[in-house]
């Protein structure tokens, strides 16, 4: 029997596991979280009793379907929660559960590792009270807490409006929603949004209307300037409006986020080729339409391959499982596969249209003041990074990291890497793909030194 391992129990990983288990293939599913479900369908901790409708809104049906599938599946697969995949090489996945390290040999591995917030620093962003959009949502979903009593959501992307609405619905006070994308971009993208996924596009428009009818100021085309604080906590926010006025707002918390970035470190460590995606300005693992990576035996699915949302994640999870089946010599239902491809192409059109409607505001890289921290872990400012790029001649990102320490801390550049690349590129006047990307290094996340290898079985 072949050994198949899936990393990530979100929509992509669960659908992949389900598809393989249906063929009675043994599957090991590894997830660092305590409960399966992934990000969008994150489960509340044991003991919390909110309904699906209150937790997942319009997506309640999908959430329930996925959770039910997963609960049935658990008995039929080797599911390992609380297990971090910290390294991968030569067809071995290295995991750690608690303080016990294990090696999992595999013939096929599906990386369904999802995404994290993509951030852009602004003066004051390290003040207590500033959260990423994702963290603001997790506080609500997992703990039923709001991040503050008067919250501004700032950034761009669909999650900006979604989280703001979720806060309003939960009874929290939202002081404003500030979007860096110009309204014109949204107007231009609207036809493509509506033709590729009319239902979802309308739901997005409804979110904005809901915010407006709740009396919440929603602004587009803004430039963030500073998050004000009284030395301890957030007290307000300063930005430039689309018409060029300097505006100030009082608030006690800020949810900040500019789309998501895929968790590609495992793919990188496994030696998979990555290529630069012009639309998102991100380095994404190269795959064929079924999710096969450039390295034999490795497959990618979900947001970890490209940020296309939960429905696309479920589809790509199934497709990756089909690819594994085909490569292991099993039959694959061709008509189903073709239908999934058709759906995936439609969702890909939507992804591209969304990126047009809410462009990643790379132009802000030039606006970040020299004193502002770029790398929170190592406390490195934009000025220090620019110094490395110019005076020390580091016009390449890994070189700039070596000289300035940007990306050398606990997060290993997962949060600062994409904006650091933009800053180096803007400073040196080079295209961002020309400055390269931070090379992945194990461990994927911090690994306790208390970890011991499992006794050789």
């Amino acid at each position: 029997m072949p050994d198949i391992v899936i990393i990530g129990a979100g929509p992509a990983g669960i659908r992949a596991a389900e598809t393989l288990a249906e063929q009675r293939l043994p599957v090991t599913l590894v997830d660092e979280g305590e409960r399966g479900g992934g990000q969008i369908y994150r489960r509340q901790p044991a003991g919390f009793r909110r309904s699906y409708a209150s937790l997942y809104g319009s997506e309640a049906g999908k959430a329930k379907a996925l959770h039910d599938t997963f609960d049935r599946l658990k008995a039929r697969i080797d599911y390992r929660p609380n297990t971090l995949a910290w390294n991968i090489a030569d067809n071995v996945l290295h995991t750690v559960t608690g303080a016990v390290a294990r090696r999992l040999r595999f013939d096929a591995a599906i990386l369904a590792t999802g995404a994290t917030d993509r951030l852009i620093p602004v003066d004051g962003w390290t003040t207590p009270g500033v959260y990423s959009l994702g963290a603001a949502q997790i506080a609500l979903k997992a703990q039923a807490c709001a991040i503050g009593g008067a919250v501004v959501f700032m950034g761009t992307g669909p999650l900006l409006y979604l989280v703001a609405c979720q806060y309003v619905k939960a009874g929290a006070r939202v002081a404003a929603v500030l979007d860096t994308s110009p309204l014109s971009a949204r107007h231009q993208a609207l036809p493509r949004l509506l033709t590729s996924r009319p239902g979802l596009a309308l739901r997005g428009l409804r979110l904005i209307l809901q915010l407006r009818s709740a009396g919440i100021p929603v602004e587009t085309g803004i430039t963030p300037l500073a998050i004000a604080n009284d030395g301890a906590n957030v007290t307000g926010l300063r930005y430039r409006s689309s018409s060029g006025e300097i505006e100030e707002l009082a608030c006690d918390a800020v949810g900040l986020g500019y789309h998501l970035r895929p968790e590609t470190q495992l793919a990188d460590l496994a030696g998979c080729a990555l290529s630069f995606d012009e639309t998102s300005r991100l380095w994404l693992p190269k795959t064929d339409p079924d999710g096969r990576a450039s390295v034999a035996g490795l497959y990618l699915a979900g947001d970890g391959a490209r940020i296309a949302g939960a429905d696309a994640a479920e589809i790509s999870g199934r497709l990756a499982a089909y690819a594994v089946l085909a490569d292991l010599g099993h039959g694959v239902p061709e008509s189903k596969r073709r239908a999934l491809h058709r759906a995936a192409r439609r969702l890909e059109r939507f992804r591209l249209a969304l990126a047009q409607a809410f462009p990643w505001p790379h132009w802000l890289a030039g606006e970040i003041a020299d004193e502002v921290l770029v790398c929170r872990c190592e406390k490195i400012s934009a000025g220090e990074l620019r110094h490395a790029a110019t005076t020390l001649g580091a016009a390449e990102l890994n070189r700039a990291k070596a000289f300035s320490r940007v990306g050398m801390g606990r997060c290993q550049g997962r949060y600062c890497g994409t904006i650091a690349a933009e800053i180096v590129a803007a400073t040196c006047g080079r295209p961002v793909d020309g400055v390269g990307r931070l090379r992945g290094q194990a461990p994927v996340k911090p690994l306790p030194l208390a970890t011991t290898a499992e006794e050789a079985a």
């Binding site: 190592e378 070596a402 606990r410 194990a442 911090p446 030194l449 011991t452």
Partner: protein, 387 residues
């Protein structure tokens, strides 16, 4: 058109960059050709130990020459490269190690290391972080550590300020002759000439020396490194274990920002073709165990990054330094067997002295390439390809 100077250096690691600097100080014109960026290979990714302690007496004069230069970096190259004189502690887990540590101390007693042998009581008083399992230690107060990522580039910039011409992202592909001069051809079709050629290409020099008829048994491996998240600065000296058992070998240092850098416990595969070295996760986990054994408090930290680097080793644990035994005007400095970082500035000064004056004020005879018995070879053809 080809560039021409007195000395052409191939390879911009610490050896090449420091040689360029000291050659310029002696007034020779210098071209330095580097495949990628100055100090991005072994010189930029090493552990950062600036240690004389533990080196054989035979190497001590070279090591002392380097030691002198390390303490003067701000005056010489304009920055201190995070050189921190913290001392180096070599610890043994067995009472019996005391004799060996004392023997070593007497073997290098003339070289000013100032070694002290410490028993359990002194360890408790002075280095209480180390485990009770450590029975004896040798302390070298003047040893230090520094930041490898910035050291070779600092020498490179200083050399450039003195007028050395540095060509980064320039790959030496083959050797030839232009009259009496050496001429190298680069992958992008450029030519560089000089009467004197210095090869400082680390692990890559083996293939080059072979082109000149001098084969050396150079092994290429990668020492295994890791770094933890920061904790308050508390561990001053660099600490290394004195042992015959490979799996027990561990060394660590804490930098002022608080992170603990460590290495040891075997070497992983490294490749001159891919220019990368990989980390074996099994070694990482064994390092954890050894770190907990040595400094139990480290067990509360987390690892944030591992790495390795392409390093070259010779069977007698000595580098190659000096003039070619086969080709006049050709010089080598490579194969530093995992401890070239400390030596680097001294190697640069010594190679510059040798090239400029024809002799050295410290002995380097043990490092001749001729010791491998292949020095009889002569140049075989006027053009040799490397790749």
């Amino acid at each position: 058109m080809s560039e021409k100077a007195d000395v052409l250096i191939i390879g911009g690691g610490l050896m090449g960059a420091a040689s360029a600097f000291f050659l310029r100080q002696r007034g020779l014109s210098v071209l330095l050709v580097e495949h990628d960026r100055i100090g991005q290979q072994a010189s930029g990714v090493n552990f950062g130990n600036v240690r004389r302690h533990g080196r054989p007496a035979e190497q001590m004069e070279l090591s002392n020459r380097a030691h002198e230069i390390w303490t003067k970096l701000p005056a010489l190259v304009g920055e201190d490269c995070e050189f921190l004189r913290t001392g180096h502690l070599r610890v043994g887990y067995h009472e019996a190690d005391e004799e060996a540590l004392a023997d070593y101390a007497s073997s290098v007693r003339d070289f000013g290391l100032g070694l002290e042998i410490l028993g359990r009581k002194a360890l408790n008083e002075r280095f209480s972080q180390v485990s009770e399992k450590v029975k004896v230690a040798s302390f070298s107060p003047y040893c230090a550590h520094a930041n490898p990522r910035i050291t070779a580039p600092a020498f490179g910039r200083a050399a450039a300020r003195l007028g050395a011409k540095i060509f980064e992202q320039t790959i030496c592909e083959s050797f030839g002759r232009a009259g009496a001069d050496f001429e190298i051809h680069t992958r992008d079709g450029r030519r560089f000439q000089a009467a004197t050629l210095l090869l400082t290409c680390g692990a890559w020099t083996g293939a080059m020396a072979a082109q000149f008829g001098e084969t050396v048994p150079l092994a290429v491996r990668g020492p295994q490194m890791g770094v933890t998240e920061p904790m308050p600065y508390a561990l001053k000296p660099v600490i290394g274990v004195f042992t015959e058992k490979l799996e027990q070998m561990i060394y660590l240092r804490q930098i002022k920002r608080g992170n603990v850098v460590f290495g040891g416990g075997g070497r992983g595969p490294a490749s001159t073709a891919t220019r990368r070295a990989s980390v074996d996760p099994t070694i990482t986990l064994n390092q954890f165990r050894q770190l907990r054994e040595l400094v139990p408090a480290l067990g509360r930290l987390r690892l944030i990054r591992v790495w390795s680097g392409v390093e070259s080793y010779l069977p007698d644990d000595r580098p190659v330094m000096g003039e070619s035994a086969a080709v006049p005007g050709l010089f080598y400095a490579f194969g530093f067997c995992g401890h070239g970082f400390q030596l680097g500035p001294g190697v640069g000064a010594t190679m510059a002295e040798l090239i400029a004056t024809g002799r050295t004020s410290i002995p380097i005879a043990p490092y001749t390439i001729g010791r491998f018995g292949s020095g009889q070879g002569t140049e075989r053809s006027s053009s040799r390809r490397l790749h």
